[in-house]
Assembly symmetry: C2
């Protein structure tokens, strides 16, 4: 099964994703975390200028899908943390993977801009950075998510969110 | 643990590797097959002319190592089928992976040329193909293997070889 965790930068995908894997691994050691940023590093031979443009992001998304398809075919579960801006690719996921559960980790953009952990929203606002999703690259809010989770700062502890996700996916009861 | 299965094209790496995974998965579902050819397809954005030259092979070998390192760090076992021509990379494996077991699947070159399943030894002999390991790209025989297995046609059944490999690696008793 593939759990696809979508959200903007700073929405907490990696934190929640790690916790989902930690809890899932208790019953299924054949589970991995597929973190978008880690996969960029893994495919290091392709790190070129333009890797964060829309086309660069499409390449990365296609690689992540191919990796998950390969893992899924070998009976490995994956929790994918991804800033997924291509609705058509998410629609394909549902057909490609043996089981697919899509989660939208929702945080209002103003809250992300206020916190701005990586400093990229500030840089984008000051015109020092381009190709920032939510600012100059549109983020179409996922309309096909199986579960929408509010992760506004202070809303819930990651371990509780992870449990809700695994319950939603039918992994935990 | 990473089991690294080295051998020339046609030596039976994929057949034996699949069988090793099948037997290993009985006790460890967190096990995958990392087949060199499949990984080329997985990283499809890099399939360019030159992908089978020595440099192209080095890129592929580095990607496979990075993938295994990523899997290993998440507690996933891998059985790697690879035409590994870089002794220095195999030496690094021993330091990078939590546990590493290297197997040389040995078949004499004349036997491979006689069988020539993919037709590449014939093409190389007729000058129709270049970058063939064992012919115009040297194959330094692995000197650091933990186990050398003779897979000359008719020598042994894949399931028996797989069992010997898993026993050698300490996975089966």
């Amino acid at each position: 099964m593939i759990i696809w965790l979508v959200g903007l930068s700073g929405a907490g995908k990696t934190t929640v994703g790690r916790e989902v894997v930690r809890q899932w691994k208790r019953s299924a050691p054949n589970t991995v975390l597929v973190d978008g940023d880690e996969i960029r590093a893994l495919y290091k031979h392709d790190q070129r200028p333009g890797s964060h443009t829309v086309e660069g992001r499409r390449d990365n998304a296609e690689r992540i899908t191919a990796l998950c398809h390969w893992l899924d075919g070998q009976g490995i579960n994956a929790v994918v943390c991804i800033l997924s801006i291509f609705p058509e690719m998410r629609a394909e996921n549902r057909m490609r993977f043996s089981q697919y559960f899509e989660v939208y980790l929702k945080v209002p953009l103003p809250a992300l801009q206020a916190r701005d952990e990586k400093g990229l929203y500030g840089k984008a606002a000051r015109g020092e950075m381009t190709h920032v999703v939510g600012i100059d690259i549109p983020f179409p809010e996922p309309e096909t998510a199986d579960l929408v989770v509010d992760n506004t700062p202070g809303a819930a502890a990651p371990e509780n969110l992870a449990r809700r996700i695994l319950e939603g996916a039918g992994v935990l009861k």
